[in-house]
Symmetry: none
Subunit: 216 residues, 4 copies
DNA sequence: TATGAATGAGATTTCATTCAT
DNA sequence: TATGAATGAAATCTCATTCAT
């Protein structure tokens, strides 16, 4: 059967998306022509349109991939036994991410999606999944509050926004200044957050500990 | 020579920039055609090209205006006598800003400039002025550190980044969710920052107070 | 006012439609590219899109013009005092039409619209107006039948179809063989039709004569 | 060599042509893509190109088939012993044809060939065979004239054109209005033609009868 | 022969910009 | 200065055709 295997098909799709992502990171997707994607991917216009019905659809696919990565970053931390530990894992993951030069480039594409989501309904829909994800974080913070790890007076809704902001602002600044000291940033941000955690961490009783699981 | 007065010239320019900003906030500037700006401004294509040599130049002019506003927001706080007081003023100014629906719309344009600055050299140049501005904030924090208001262990460079991030992330989240509780966000963010200020604020000697001036 | 006058606007539109019609007659509209229309019209692509939103819209405009001419041809005969006289006028008009070489070319475009109307809803709609026009012819024949000019046994619905067919078939054959003897064709066709008219034309009483007015 | 039998080859070819004809009747051949023909035929692009070197060649093949059918329609009547009888057989054959819904669809394709023949040299060539066929009809009419069945004053060249026109116009009208009363049309058309036949049919002598053979 | 992914020339359309008025 | 019709380079996308398998 000369029909391409599902595996090959995925590989081609990835080839296109990666080429396009490189172009987008370099020039922005409004300045990237299909011809450039064609050149960068080493394929032909027709081939690309075998996999994506339009440039727009390709952009959306990349948007979805980008958001999935952001989500993975936070999800990876969900298994922490406590807020404190979760934060430590988040810090570690962030720093690790920054070591990947490719990923650094891709972050630029994420920022373009922020802008695009403000007027493109389809991109917005993808972005909104990320917003819902913050709901999960808020819930986790609430649990931490019940377990005593977080003082009762803290507004968990706002705190989750603050945590997101620290992440988003960092992405942005790093795109502008690739050489920034990310370790220092993460440490300082962590210090800030830990500053409002309850001074004496509660004796993490089994139950409480469990509740916090899947937290941040 | 039918040269119009300088005053009229400025008025026309403002008329164009405001129309363009409305279009850009609504549709993004890559989806905004000159024809739309023409329609929104009530002028003619030729007239617009009397005031701006290209769409790009118009975009740059708006970019400059946007960044000037951001700067003003921070500059307004520069006259505080201490970090603590500066933060309070910043908080106040932020909340005030959010009450202006028009300004809310314009924020969307700022986000587009973030994206655009990643590959457009001219826009980037404007954005970089904003980055340099952070240098001022860092210096101010350093002064606060010397005065004892900020513990010696804090990395002021990172802290200024964190403060910027809190601002940027907020802008972004507010663009996505216009109804978010900005008061709560600002309070929580402030609580975080104040959490790392020295427990006992130093007697703000005149000299120290002065140093903090022009701070945040 | 540099705004173009309505007159000039119409002239430009005509310029485009005529250029396009020449192309269509020569190459068929599926083989005619916009670039060719551009060349033939002496304008630029953009100029054409100032007057027509798409190639399709341009085709429709021409279709409407074509059908209007066909209609005019029949309408011109509507003022005859009797069926017999109406037929004579039709014959004359047909022959006259065939002397115009340009019109001869345009007939080719009409035939293309016949084909196109079979699957293009918009073109079909225009063609259907032509069909409705046959209704008028049928009514006129019925009047002639009442007045005794046409024998009672004749099915007027079918007869109007036959008259249309004689017209359509002629258009087609003339497109294939531009040199055909149109006078002879018309004479023969007329002889056929007159062959079924009542042998003794009824005394055309005023009333009857009037009724026939607006006939064929 | 994996050469398939001639029989299979023909079957495949027919399969393709039938699928293509369905597509062409439905959408017109300019709007029909090879992909659609592929889908409709159940084959693959490559397979189709085994049997036809190009879309054009496929179109030509269908054109030839269409014209052969038209010819057959007239040829079938060629064995009549007199013009009058021949016309009766033609009438019968026409009505019979109209009962076949498939054939009705295919007529639409014929109309497209009329249009296409106006600028496509290859299609034109096929159409011209149809024109030559009219020559045969003219000759037959001339024979009928000699035999006295047709009055001497009739221009046989024109009459054959008229007969063709009645056929062509009917095809066209039926494509537009599939529900038209074809029986009535045929009866009326026949009445018209018979109206100019010699009142008293000549004693059809053997010779004359033979001459008329192959007539209409 | 048959497959179908891939090709790439070429079509339509857009839109920032110009220039005669 | 101001107008707006016109320009034309360039972008997206299509689809008849090919060719490695």
């Amino acid at each position: 059967m000369p029909k391409i295997s599902e595996e090959k098909r995925r590989a081609r799709q990835a080839q296109i998306l990666e080429a396009a992502t490189r172009c987008f990171a370099r020039d922005g997707f409004h300045h990237t022509t299909m011809e450039e994607v064609v050149r960068e991917s080493g394929l032909s216009p027709g081939a690309i349109y075998c996999y994506f019905r339009s440039k727009q659809e390709m952009v959306e696919a990349i948007s979805a991939v980008r958001h999935a990565r952001d989500q993975a970053l936070l999800d990876e931390l969900a298994s922490a036994a406590s807020l404190r530990k979760g934060l430590d894992r988040l810090a570690l993951a962030l720093v690790r991410m920054l070591e990947d030069a490719k990923e650094k480039q891709r972050r630029k594409v994420s920022i373009q999606f922020w802008a695009e989501s403000l007027h493109d309904a389809r991109i917005r829909k993808v972005a909104e999944r990320g917003l819902r994800q913050r709901g999960g974080l808020t819930a986790a913070l609430r649990t931490a509050q019940r377990s005593g790890e977080l003082p009762a007076g803290v507004d968990v809704e706002s705190l989750s926004r603050v945590l997101f902001a620290l992440f988003q602002g960092f992405i942005l600044q790093q795109a502008w200044e690739p050489g920034l000291d990310s370790g220092a940033y993460v440490r300082t941000a962590m210090a800030l957050i830990k500053g409002i955690l309850s001074k004496a961490a509660p004796a993490p009783r089994r139950k409480a500990a469990k509740a916090v699981t899947g937290l941040l």
